[in-house]
Amino acid sequence: MTSVRPSVRSVIAERAARELRAGDVVNLGIGIPALVPAFVTPGSVFLHSENGVLGFGDTPAPDAVDPNLVNAGKQPVTEVPGSVYFDSAASFGMIRGGHVDVAVIGALQVSARGDIANWAVPGKAVLGVGGAMDLCAGARRLVVTMTHTEKDGRPKIVEELSLPATAFGVVDAVVTELAVFRVVEGRLVLVELQPGVTLAEVREKTGAAFEWRDAPTPEA
C-alpha cells in the first residue's frame, strides 16, 4: 500500500492540482506544491510568487536563465504574456488582503479545526518563517499537501497541534497520498479516498476524528 517517495509526492500533487479552478491566482510553496504545475493545463491559472511576480512560466533552459527572474523558491522562472512585477510590500498586500485565490503549501501538522503548523519544530532554533504565516493567514483558500503520516507512522492530522502554530482555522483542504479532507465550518470532513485506499486505513493513520459525506456504513 505504500509507494516509493517520488510517486507519493506525485499522487499528492496531481490531486492538489484538481483543487484549482481556471483563472485562479495560485501561490505554490516549496516541496510537493512545486510539483503541482505539471498537472495543470498550461495557462489555466496564474502563478503568484511572494517575491514579486504574478503570472510566470516554467523553469527555463540553462541558456535562457534570467538571474533577476526567480520564484519564491529562488528557482529561475520565465516571463509569460501578462506577467506583472511588483515589490514585496505590494506582493504581501495581495496575499494578506485575500487577493490570492489559493495557496498550496506543505505542513508538519494540521488540526481538525484547520489550524496549521509548518514553520517551527520545538527544541530547534526558530530562524526562518518566510512567507508561510502570510500565506496561511491570507490566502482565500488554503490547500495543504503533505504525506499522511510522519516516517515513523505518527499522524500529521491531529485533534490539537503539538507543534507551534502558523495560523489558526485557515485550512480549507488537506490532500495526502491516502485521502482528501476539507475543513467545513471548523469540522474535519473526509471527502475522498485516494485509489485503493480504505476508510479503515485512513482512520488508523489519522489522529483526529472526522466526518464523511456519503453516510458510509459504520465500521468498528
Partner: protein, 231 residues
C-alpha cells in the same frame, strides 16, 4: 550630484552600531557591490535588516557575517544559510524573526511615517509573543512596529542622474520599501542614464528617496552560476 565614484565613498558616515537595511531576496536584488564595500569599510556591531543573510559560501551578506560585523539581524528566513544558523548557535548573532510580509510592511511603514499597524499574520503564534494583540472585526491581530535604518543599500537596474530608480523583474523585492526607510539610501545600478531618459510612469523609486548612486561592480552571476541557480 548623487553619483559617487566608489562604493566605499558612498558609505561615508556609516558607523559602528548603526542599522543598515540591505535589499534582496536571496541574492536577487541584493546590492553585492555595496555589501563588499561594507565589508571593506569595517563598521561593526551592525544591525542588518534583510530578508535573509546571503547564501552559503560567503555570498552576499554571508561574507559580512563571516567577518563578525553583524550583531543583530532582522529578517524572515535565515534557515537556508547554515552559516547563519551556526553563528546563532555560537551566540555571536542575535536574530529577530518576522513573517516576510510583516517585514516588508514594517519597512514600508517606516518609510511612510506610520507609527505601526495591526496585521492578522502571526497573531496568536510564537512570533506575536510580547506584542500587543487585539480582536478587530472578530479576528485576532498583532500590532507591529515600523522599521527604519541609518543606511539603506539597494540594487536597481537603471538610475538617472537625479537618483530615480528602475528595477529589473523580481529584482525589486524589498528594495523600493527599503529605499524609502533609510536616512541615507545608496543605490548600486547597472546603468546610469540621462535625466529624462526614464519614462516618468515607469520609475519605481522616485529620486527623493535616494541620496547616493554607484555603478554595480558585482553581478549575481559573478557569485552564483546558472547551474547553481537551477539546482
Amino acid at each position: 550630484m548623487k553619483v559617487r565614484d566608489s562604493a566605499l565613498a558612498a558609505l561615508d558616515g556609516l558607523r559602528d552600531g548603526m542599522t543598515v537595511m540591505v535589499g534582496g531576496f536571496g541574492l536577487v536584488g541584493a546590492p553585492l557591490t555595496l555589501i563588499d564595500a561594507l565589508c571593506e569599510h569595517g563598521a561593526r556591531d551592525l544591525t542588518i535588516v534583510s530578508n535573509n543573510l546571503g547564501e552559503p559560501g560567503g555570498k552576499g551578506l554571508s561574507r559580512l557575517l563571516a567577518l563578525g560585523r553583524i550583531r543583530r539581524a532582522v529578517g524572515s528566513y535565515f534557515t537556508s544559510n547554515p552559516e547563519v544558523v551556526a553563528a546563532v548557535e555560537r551566540g555571536e548573532l542575535e536574530v529577530t524573526l518576522l513573517p516576510q510580509g510583516t517585514l516588508a510592511e514594517a519597512i514600508r511603514a517606516g518609510g511612510a511615517g506610520l507609527g505601526g499597524f495591526f496585521t492578522p499574520v502571526g497573531a496568536g503564534t510564537l512570533l506575536a509573543e510580547g506584542k500587543e494583540q487585539r480582536l478587530i472585526d472578530g479576528r485576532l491581530h498583532v500590532l507591529e512596529s515600523p522599521l527604519r535604518a541609518d543606511f539603506s543599500l539597494v540594487r536597481a537596474w537603471r538610475a538617472d542622474g537625479l537618483g530615480n530608480l528602475v528595477y529589473d523583474k523580481t529584482q525589486q523585492n524589498f528594495n523600493p520599501a527599503m529605499a524609502a526607510a533609510g536616512a541615507v539610501t545608496v543605490a548600486e545600478v547597472d546603468e546610469l542614464v540621462e535625466v529624462g531618459d526614464l519614462p516618468p510612469a515607469t520609475i519605481h523609486t522616485p529620486h527623493l528617496y535616494v541620496k547616493r548612486v554607484v555603478r554595480a561592480q558585482v553581478r549575481i552571476t559573478d557569485v552564483k552560476s546558472v547551474e547553481e541557480m537551477l539546482r
